[in-house]
């Protein structure tokens, strides 16, 4: 697909990197020459220096013949303007980054008027991700499918727990419910396991389960804890704003530390229900004063990676069970060894979201991708597909179907009923199925998963 990205900043770059990796023809427009050159040097895409809101530059970038335009400059207004022009020039769809909370609330009024296909809001996405993790503490990662009815969670296999030494075939007996392991990460290797695979302590295990069973499974593993009730947020950034809103709505106690007085007052105005502290959140005295160690979860989002990372290590040392750390440079994430310290990268989440969107756009004809999540550090993809009449394997029992290597069907959602499939189950038209595959294979259509009939 031909995609034009306007704005080559953090988010723009991450999206361009992901989408070139997916094999699309990308053109990035940025006003800053050195930014444009850096992109042209490091990514296999075209980079153009110029103002993305001018029709002349848009023509050069090929907006009129492009399938998608993503506007992600620093200014919301500019992004919307770019999309309006791009639409007028005849691009397929247009996506604008809109991140001001005020605009975000009224976006539904604007979407049609501006001809936007969708908007993206990295900060809001990040906040949502943090919120979801706080809902089920104990898991390392949590990805939802089928409208939240199915979850794939990442947990660590500890020595002596139910998973240690168990082969996957035995899991249902041990848990007294069907459990499906989609992927296992052992050291640097990633496996998409079959039934004979035996788990070892230290493995990161990706378990696919109906949302209703999840608590039961985690309980059996001794991982389950009550959801976070008292949460401390350090730094009153936009992510904090979105997160506070969600947490308050869910009835969680929120304490916010923000250094800037004006911003702190603004936050108090917006969230009278939250406790707002105006102090330096990176000061250990302040943290002690505010009882950081007794919190169920602490989120670091001061806007500076270094500060967030160091703070998270310090707070982790205090014994806080769940940490959420906002970082832009995910590469530094290897520094963090604590599995309960979640690194949240808004730009990366946003790039993933765009990949999902583009994949869905690409095959809106066939069995389209509904959801796409990366597991195991991006080495494994979990995709949810709609099953349409064109699906080759429909109506056949799974034991009669041969799938390609390293592909698993993790679950079937039939009208809201979640089936963890066994050999006797079938895939029917109207279902959605979650498929697990290694990520260097690009699955666009459900029919791609079946081994070719000889």
């Amino acid at each position: 697909m031909k995609i034009v990205i306007i704005g080559g900043g953090k988010v723009g770059y991450a999206i361009a990197a992901q989408l070139t990796h997916e094999g699309h023809d990308i053109t990035v427009v940025d006003q800053n020459l050195s930014v444009a050159e850096r992109i042209g040097d490091t990514l296999d895409c075209m980079s153009i220096c110029g103002s993305g809101a001018t029709v002349e530059v848009m023509r050069v970038a090929g907006v009129p013949t492009s399938d998608l335009v993503i506007a992600c400059t620093h200014q919301d207004e500019l992004n919307m303007l770019c999309c309006v022009f791009a639409k007028r020039l005849g691009c397929g769809s247009a996506i604008a980054r809109v991140r001001m909370p005020e605009y975000a609330q009224q976006m539904y009024l604007l979407k049609d008027g501006l001809g936007l296909s969708t908007t993206m809001n990295p900060e809001q996405t990040a906040a949502r991700e943090m919120f979801r993790l706080m809902e089920i503490p104990g898991v390392l990662k949590r990805e939802s499918f089928a409208g939240g009815r199915v979850e794939i969670v990442e947990i660590i296999c500890r020595a002596g727990d139910l998973l240690d030494g168990a082969s996957l075939m035995d899991l249902p007996k041990k848990f007294k419910t069907r459990v499906f392991v989609g992927a296992v990460q052992r050291g640097n290797d990633t496996f998409i396991p079959d039934g004979r695979f035996t788990l070892r302590a230290g493995d990161k295990v990706y378990i696919c389960a109906p949302a209703t069973q999840l608590v039961h499974i985690l309980h059996a593993l001794g991982e389950h804890r009550k959801k976070a009730r008292r949460v401390l947020l350090i730094g009153g950034s936009r992510v904090a704003e979105y997160l506070t809103e969600m947490l308050l709505k869910a009835g969680t106690e929120v304490k916010l530390i923000e250094q800037d007085k004006e911003q702190a007052e603004y936050l108090f105005d917006r969230f009278p229900g939250a406790q707002v502290i105006c102090a330096d959140g990176s000061n250990e005295r302040v943290l002690a004063e505010e009882n950081a160690e007794s919190m169920d979860a602490v989120a670091m989002m001061t806007g500076r990676d270094e500060q967030n990372l160091i703070l998270s290590m310090y707070v982790g040392g205090l014994g806080v069970p769940q940490l959420l750390t906002q970082v832009d440079h995910t590469e530094f994430g290897t520094l963090i060894q604590d599995p309960h310290n979640h690194l949240i990268s808004p730009k990366q989440l946003c790039a993933d979201e765009m990949v999902r969107y583009v994949r869905a756009l690409q095959n809106s004809g066939g069995s389209s991708v509904v959801t796409l999540h990366h597991l195991a550090g991006g080495k494994v993809d979990a995709l949810e597909f709609n099953v349409t009449a064109s699906c080759r394997g429909k109506g056949k029992q799974l034991r009669d179907i041969r799938l390609k290597r390293n592909i698993l069907i993790a679950c079937i959602n039939r009208m809201g009923r979640i089936i963890i499939p066994g050999g006797l189950d079938t895939v029917e038209v109207g279902d959605t199925v979650v498929v697990i595959t290694d990520s260097h294979r690009k699955i666009l259509d459900l029919n791609d998963i079946y081994a070719d009939e000889d």
Binding site: A17, T20, T27, L33, G40, D41, L43, M46
Partner: protein, 483 residues
């Protein structure tokens, strides 16, 4: 330094070379040229034996930085030249390995300087390979690899560094977002134009083998022919075809891409193209006037003048008449034409027209600033601002260009030829033209130089073709220590 990836790419380049020797082998087999068959077979075996294991080396990291790009390109060109020289040497056609190396490097760099006094007696298979090196070297071996795309992992935009290091021009840019597509488009245009020339030559009753080798020689703007008198004995029609195609191959290939995209206006707006055409017209006119007494027939004079002009400007180096005998002012102009060379992004060599344009603009600016010290003055080209680092890099390029020519000219002076011979030979090799003046003039050859001088000129040709940096980067000590 990412040694593993560099080695991997060089292995692949050698494999490609072995593959490209195949047509030459088949030709030799058909014509029962026993020595040539042995030579080519041995070379293919060597290239494959070196290339295949090397191409199995997997890089731990896929990333290539500017430094790795330069080193890869420099080493790859050395490797193809060293291996590509073997057929001549093993078959006994050119007994001395250094001579064979000179000839091959001259082929790959599209110089067309030869050490052979007697060309026609060479086996056909070797003549084919000799001309084919022009074709391959013209667009670039690594660009070919990029078009095939065994190189790039899905996300390695870093291959841009390879393209940039191998393609001539101030700053090579992609035509379309995908590297592989860009490289493929370039090669398709290249193959298309070569094919067209081949057909037009065939129509003029030029023998098939001559047409093919002439087309290779023109396409790469090389200059090897299979006759001792270069292109002099071909019909006027064939010479006009060569004139047209030498011109076409020295134009920036972006122009053809834009024409294919039906953006005719934009394609023809390029000031570099105008400048190139203008100089061509001016030089042709001057030659015509200057050589009136040599050619009684006006059309003959025009043909020889146009041919010589475009042959030197495109840095091809075909010869139809002994232009070394022309009046001094014409000979001086020839040196200037050799120096300027063709347009950036073409297969031609030299300083490149666009650099000369920038040099003039920057020189004018210096003068202007001397008079108006506080004046704001920026360099513009094609209506767009050229940023300061680019302007400065062109100044630096000019300096190194001259220093290289001076050094090479000095080093080969030991052989006792005249000043004119030595420095025109050095400039001719640096600009990848082929013939020079005096002892290396239009009807002479490089056979008289000592082995040392031939090596010096071989390196000069490589420096010229790769636009200095890749070759000189190899000599920079810090590069190898990964600094």
């Amino acid at each position: 330094m990412n040694y593993r990836t560099v080695i991997n790419i060089i292995g692949k380049v050698l494999c490609v070379e072995a593959m490209f020797l195949l047509p030459a082998l088949i030709l030799s087999l058909i014509l029962h040229e026993r020595e040539a068959v042995t030579g080519i077979l041995v070379t293919m075996a060597v290239a494959a034996a070196l290339g295949f294991p090397l191409s199995r080396v997997r890089g731990r990291r896929p990333d290539i930085f500017a430094r790795d790009g330069l080193v890869t390109v420099g080493l790859a060109w050395l490797a193809v030249s060293l291996v590509g020289a073997l057929p001549f040497c093993v078959s006994g056609a050119i007994p001395s390995y250094i001579d064979a190396l000179f000839e091959t490097a001259s082929g790959f760099t599209t110089t067309g300087a030869t050490i052979l006094r007697e060309i026609e007696s060479l086996p056909r298979g070797l003549l084919y390979w000799r001309s084919f090196t022009h074709w391959l070297g013209g667009m670039g071996v690594l660009v070919f690899l990029l078009a095939l795309n065994p190189l790039s992992r899905k996300d390695s935009g870093e291959n841009m560094h390879l393209l940039r290091a191998e393609s001539p021009g101030v700053r090579a840019s992609k035509l379309v977002p995908r590297m592989r597509d860009s490289a493929s488009i370039l090669y398709l245009i290249y193959i298309g134009l070569t094919g067209l020339e081949f057909l037009l030559l065939l129509l003029g009753r030029v023998p098939v083998f001559d047409s093919l080798t002439l087309a290779f020689g023109t396409a790469g703007t090389g200059g090897f022919t299979i006759r001792n008198d270069s292109a002099a004995s071909y019909s006027p029609y064939a010479q006009w075809v060569l004139i047209v195609f030498m011109f076409l191959f020295s134009v920036n290939f972006n122009v053809y891409f834009l024409l294919l995209m039906r953006q005719v206006k934009k394609a023809l707006r390029s000031s570099e193209l105008h400048c190139f055409a203008g100089v061509f017209a001016f030089a042709t006119l001057l030659f015509v006037l200057n050589t009136r007494s040599y050619f009684p027939d006006f059309w003959d004079g025009l043909r020889h003048s146009a041919f010589t002009t475009v042959s030197l400007m495109s840095t091809t180096g075909f010869v139809t008449t002994n232009f070394d005998l022309w009046p001094q002012i014409s000979r001086s102009l020839m040196i200037l034409l050799m120096f300027m060379g063709a347009c950036a992004g073409s297969t031609g060599g030299g300083m490149k027209v666009v650099r000369v344009q920038l040099l003039f603009k920057s020189a004018y600016r210096s003068l202007y600033r001397a008079v108006h010290p506080n004046a704001v003055r920026l360099v513009h080209l094609d209506g767009e601002r050229v940023d300061e680092p680019t302007v400065r890099s062109v100044d630096g390029f000019l300096l190194i260009y001259f220093l290289t020519v001076a050094a090479a000219g000095f080093l080969i002076s030991a052989d006792g030829f005249s000043f004119e011979t030595n420095f025109s030979a050095a400039l001719s090799c640096m600009s990848n033209v082929g013939p020079g003046l005096g002892g290396v003039g239009a009807v002479e050859c490089y056979a008289g130089f000592s082995d040392f001088s031939k090596l010096v000129l071989t390196v000069t040709m490589l420096i010229g073709r790769l636009e200095i940096y890749p070759m000189l980067a190899l000599a920079l000590p810090g590069v190898w220590k990964g600094k």
